[in-house]
């Protein structure tokens, strides 16, 4: 009988990049496969086994009517449900439609919208079922993924650093792009995980890993405004890869409402121009 813990990988609305991270573990892939029994991973194997599963990794956002029952079934089948990536933890970039008229979006993209089934909003897995751990990133980081799986196999809770990207820049000795060049950067409010990649490449962080544990959003918005960024662009900066995370969503909406009151800008990231 199979005694290794079972692993299942599931996909919702997404680009496939996070589950690809699993196949890109390279030297660690076969080692991991010897400690776990891969029971359901459509991209990797045609052998499909039913639940229950010990660990389920879920990629993608809830976006279509059929997703609603599917995620509940996966929850029932899984001992630990781990969401991987910005789509599963915050609704992904496709959550930009949550501010738009979804009917209009459908008509804009498809000639025959009646063939398409979609929900008005793209939402995180945790909005629908209990999630045991959320691994952030667009894409997730390979080392963090190994750490999460390793922790679960060892029977302890994953410990993933949740400080800001800003701190990683300081540790790496990267010159601050905001202070030195006035480049807008979400590093002060973004969750660690990429090793502060963008500032190291002379550009501002655009928030792939979503909000850090206690982001001081108002302070960053104020600084961006002082640096001359129009409210409309500040709203767009928060409405990116992790637009529908509660923190970024709240701050973007706050600035939009504020600038709307003062008549400064329309602020809507994807409104028709």
């Amino acid at each position: 009988m199979e005694s290794r813990p079972t692993l299942a990988v599931f996909k919702f609305a997404s680009c496939d990049g996070c589950q690809l991270t699993l196949l890109s573990l390279e030297d660690d892939l076969l080692a991991l496969a010897s400690r776990l029994h891969v029971a359901h991973f459509l991209e990797a194997t045609s052998r499909i086994e039913p639940g229950p599963y010990d660990i389920a990794l879920v990629e993608g956002s809830v976006s279509a009517p059929r997703d609603l029952e599917r995620i509940r079934q996966i929850r029932r089948d899984s001992r630990y449900l781990i969401t991987i990536g910005a789509c599963a933890t915050a609704g992904g970039i496709q959550a930009l439609r949550n501010w738009a008229d979804s009917e209009e979006y459908l008509r804009a993209v498809y000639a025959r919208p009646e063939y398409i089934e979609t929900l008005a909003k793209s939402t995180a897995i945790a909005d629908h079922v209990t999630v045991d751990f959320e691994l952030r990133g667009c894409p997730i980081d390979k080392r963090q993924l190994l750490d999460v799986i390793g922790s679960l196999l060892a029977g302890r809770r994953p410990r993933i650093p949740n400080h800001e990207v800003c701190l990683d820049c300081k540790r790496n000795g990267t010159v601050c792009v905001m202070v030195a060049h006035g480049t807008p950067c979400l590093g002060p409010v973004t969750h660690s995980g990429c090793d502060a990649l963008c500032p190291a490449h002379d550009r501002g962080c655009y928030g792939c890993f979503g909000p850090s544990s206690q982001p001081n959003l108002v302070s960053l918005s104020d600084q961006l405004r002082r640096d001359g960024m129009p409210p409309r662009e500040i709203v767009q900066a928060f409405r990116g890869i992790n637009a529908y995370s509660p923190e970024f969503r709240g701050e973007g909406d706050r600035i939009e409402a504020e600038s709307g009151r003062s008549g400064e800008a329309d602020g809507s990231g994807e409104a028709e121009r």
């Binding site: 076969l30 499909i48 059929r66 804009a108 398409i116 990231g269």
Partner: protein, 455 residues
């Protein structure tokens, strides 16, 4: 091939397969709920009436993500970061088609050094994406395994070799792009920060080793047992006078068509079908389906492969033009060899681009571009306003263009295997679909943006 021990009874929905009899007509329905070992999720429906093939549908049911609508109103600088998110397997392809189309709109010429560095980045993605498909997803079909993890128990060296081939490509992507999935270094006009010559130099030993492994692997793959099945393909790819197709050239078809990317939408038209969230393409001039990808490129541009890849194509006896879809794995393997060779050549002559990013002034404009994604030509067209925001986008990925061809292949293939039981028949069909390396995550959610602004 196809000696898979997969157990379809468990969850892959054999219970929906059934025979119905009505008015003396027997209908046999075979449904593969999920086509496995492809990127993204799709299914296959096959319907027979009185023993004859009635209908085949490759179902793409991933939910739409509306990229073309989301891009509207965003600054053009964000386009390569946003379109990368369409596909985690070939993000560089989306970035390359984006920046080329936008630069064409803006009248920007980034110059030779940036051009070469982009080719190097693209080579790295071809290696990563092709090696994933050849070694982890497709090879198990020819050797009778449900997947590469299962295959690794009997053939550990072959699977490890595939992982090593991929690893060197990923290392190159990491170095140039910052990371392999959704690279952060690609900008309209060039790169945010180009890699140092010394850093690229340090990768050379691994790339040389990768090249040797890729050559061995091509010989291995070429020895597989290929089913005897041919289709009269109309193949389409970019063609450049001096180099293997990647970012530049005219769009040429095997029947003599030769156009620029600006003429793309008048020749290749998309239609939407009920069973799919992807659009399907046909040629408006011939009304026919067409084939994109590695086999189309090798058929059209074999003489422009790098020398080692070209000699290897001769050595393994690839006959071109090749019209057997199962041989796509050989074409893909040869392109891995080519990409390794060309990477080494570009690194040997590399000079850091100065400046790394060419400046431009945004203005109202429109532009299009086609580049060769691992799965075939990827078309982008944008219209931007005077402030530099996107006001219209149209993106046509290779898999949605190949989808009609895949269904046509299945319709030709099925009559020869109708005697098989449902399980075996489904497996054979899935395996044929897999030859195309279909990327369902990419192919879904697109179509021409039609903005109805009302009155």
């Amino acid at each position: 091939m196809n000696r898979d021990d997969m157990n379809r009874d468990v969850t892959n929905a054999d219970d929906t397969n059934h025979d119905d009899e009505k008015d003396g007509v027997t209908t046999r329905t075979i449904r593969v709920e999920n086509v496995t070992r492809v990127e993204g999720e799709g299914g296959l429906d096959i319907r027979l009436r009185s023993g004859a093939l009635d209908d085949v549908k490759l179902n793409i049911f991933e939910s739409p993500r509306f990229f073309e609508a989301m891009l509207r109103g965003r600054p053009l600088e964000e386009t390569p970061d946003i379109t990368a998110r369409i596909c985690g397997i070939c993000p560089v392809a989306y970035q390359m088609s984006s920046v080329h189309a936008l630069e064409r709109a803006l009248g920007v010429d980034p110059g030779e050094e940036i051009r070469r560095l982009r080719r190097l980045l693209y080579c790295a993605e071809w290696i990563e994406s092709h090696a994933l498909h050849v070694h982890l997803l497709h090879a198990p079909d020819f050797l009778g395994y449900p997947g590469s993890l299962e295959m690794s128990r009997d053939l550990p060296e072959e699977v490890t070799r595939g992982l090593q081939i991929r690893k060197a490509g990923n290392a190159l992507l990491d170095l140039i792009g910052g990371r392999a999935v959704h690279p952060i270094n690609v900008a309209v006009g060039g790169f945010y920060k180009p890699p140092r010559r010394e850093s690229l130099g340090r990768l050379v030993p691994d790339l040389e080793a990768g090249l040797r492994l890729a050559i061995d692997a091509t010989r291995w793959v070429a020895g597989f047992d290929f089913p005897d099945f041919e289709q009269a393909y109309d193949t389409v790819c970019l063609v450049h006078p001096d180099e293997y197709p990647m970012c530049e050239g005219r769009i040429e078809a095997s029947d003599g068509l030769s156009i620029t990317s600006d003429e793309f939408e008048s020749v290749f038209v998309e239609r939407q079908v009920e069973h799919s969230t992807a659009m399907q393409s046909i040629r408006s001039d011939t009304g026919a389906t067409y084939l994109l990808g590695p086999l189309a490129r090798i058929n059209g541009c074999r003489d422009r492969l790098m020398p080692v890849a070209r000699r290897l194509a001769d050595e393994v006896g690839l006959q071109t033009p090749c019209h057997n879809p199962y041989q796509m794995i050989v074409a893909r393997s040869l392109e891995i060899v080519h990409a390794y060779e060309e990477s080494l050549q570009i690194i040997a002559g590399y000079r850091e681009p100065q400046p790394s990013r060419v400046a431009y002034r945004p203005h109202a404009a429109a532009g299009s571009a086609v580049t060769e994604a691992p799965r075939g030509m990827l078309y982008h067209r944008y219209r931007i306003d005077e402030g530099g925001a996107i006001c219209e986008a149209n993106i046509i990925p290779p898999t949605s263009q190949n989808q009609s061809q895949i269904e046509r292949d299945l319709r030709s293939f099925l009559p020869g295997i109708l005697e098989m039981d449902d399980d075996e028949l489904a497996k054979r069909c899935e395996s044929l679909v897999r030859c195309y390396d279909p990327c369902i995550s990419c192919s879904t959610h697109f179509l021409q943006v039609r903005i109805d602004r009302g009155a």
